[in-house]
Amino acid sequence: MIGWKIFYLLVFPGLLFTGVLGLIVGWVDRKLSARLQFRVGPPFFQNFNDFFKLLGKETIIVKDGIKSVFVAAPLAAFGFLVLISTMIGLALFFHEGFGGDLFVIMYLLMIFSVLVILGGSSTGNVYSSVGSGREIKLLLADELAFILICLIPIIKSGYQIQLRSILEVQSVQGPFIGSVSGAIAFIIGILCIQAKMALPPFHIPDAETEIVGGPFMEYSGPLLGFWQLNHYMMFVIFPFLLILLFLGGFNLHGIGIIWAVLKYLLIIVIMILIKNTNPRIRIDTALNFFWRYAAPLSFIGIILAVFGV
């Protein structure tokens, strides 16, 4: 039994699966963005090459920085992402629980942002600290809307908080996106993901042309490689979470496999299109957007969900 758990954590659906799929989807992202911009784009193995190249590079640690936090932040973030992906993947692929529910996942995802903030502010660099400050504000902005839309599937599944139970209810009732509240939550969910992954238009914390990469500015070598891997792994985790909560999960038998791939690609393509058709917005605009429009809309979604619409 313990052997299986280690297998889940390290091979499928945990570390190896999420890492490899993340790097592949990262390539899809880069290639599609490039084609949208009339560029050629990178070859298939580019992300793997980048990651393994960075593993062999020298890590330069800032003299004035807090070394332990600086080194621990990307590795801990990587660990948390592996844990989250295992929990989501087990529910999706094996319909099993991993001793955690939706609230645990919401907490763990928040810890990831906190680790970005810690890693950025440990260096003492002015750009990194401005970037960390922006990450805090962005977290405050998107977190409320994200929590609210996570409550909608809980309400709709009859107050079940286990991922497995949410899936079971959907397999009986049909995916939650079919209802009004589910559709609202799905749309806001994609925007929240965009903000949580710091993709355009919400790439405010690591704005390259303003603050030179923000929190990740001082990172180099393997540690930078892990930050990048974390970023690509989120291309797996967040769409899987949305599929689990709103699109009814995966049915890996026969034609269901094609549906699973299509569902995943749909979310990825929407994210890439949003990413490529928007300039970076200001942090105050982002706060304004999430607090004034997204959060009240998700609250309306919750009310609708309570009434079963």
Binding site: S33, F38, V130, P200, T209, E210, P279, R280, I281
Partner: protein, 396 residues
Amino acid sequence: MTINKIPIGPFHPLLEEAEYFELKVDGETVVDIDMEIGWMHRGHEFISEMKTFTQSIYLVERICGICSTSHPLACVHAIEDIDNIEIPIRARYIRTLVGELERIHSHLLWLGLAGHFIGYDTLWMWVWKYREPVLQMFEIISGNRNHYGMMRVGGVAKDVDPVSIPDLKKNLDMLDKKMVMVANVVRDDPVLRSRLKGVGVLSHDDAVAYCATGPTSRASGVPWDVRRDEPTDAYDLVDFEVIVLQNGDVYDKMVLRVLEVIESVKIIRQCLEKLKTVQGSILNNVKEISPGEGIGIYEAPRGEVFHYIRSDGTNRPIRHKVRAPSFVNIPTYTVSCKGIPVADALITLASVDPCYCCTERSLKVVNKENDPCSIDLLKISREKTERIRREINGSK
């Protein structure tokens, strides 16, 4: 209130060239900005005084990689001003044609970079793709995609082959269609509008007080354009409008540049039509330049570029002064950057389309004994480096 200092430069992804700005910020709001120029020593004016007139035209072409027609054009205007040299009419049209093509290529380059600075990489790549026909037109006309070497005292170096005019027109049509599309995108995109509207405002009075030129001043409602107000070359022979917008923010500067591109396309169309019919020589052979001084101005893509040349009757200038438009546009940051967030400050810095290599001047100090070599630049530079090192070590 604690004031943090955010250094921008000397090397920063926003700036293609070495330049140092210090933003003094309170939280995310810029309260003051400090500029430090002098990171590049090239000595163009000094080198020009050692070259012949013809050679100095090629030299000033290398002042800026983007204004590589504006500087030579202003330079030949200055030299021609000394002797009031007449230019053949066909050469005037060719000069205008090349100058306007350069304006298009420079404005599109800026538009793409502006997209990159606000994190809109798709706009960047698309606009730079549409810039490609311009470079091809340059190649058809002059044989080069950059640094065209077209200008001569008394005319131009190379004629436009009538056979190539349909080809040029085809490229121009392609560009025209895309530019109308880009203009619509820039004016209609709600996200772009909300991002740039009201950002980095330079008021009309400030634009006048800081002597801003070019798109920077025209976006603030100062209707000054050398092409219309002091026409040289063929500008009094073609129809065009001077675009003037009133708000003075980054958004207006962006729209203004796109509209100017469309106007430039109009001018180029007229020039190409005229080149079909107007025949004659393209170069008035100038044997020598008499003693005297001349002033040449031209509306470069960034504003008015000014060249002053003094001749003593020999074959080389004894004084050559260059004033690039960025030299007057860059100080407007002190008013336009105050009180705005850091995220807006950077696009405001980029909005005047600063060209630091045009602007930078080094000063050679001559002491009282009139010994020209008493202080050399290398020594000054080393002393400055040493001083900065001491300051950094002292602050730790």
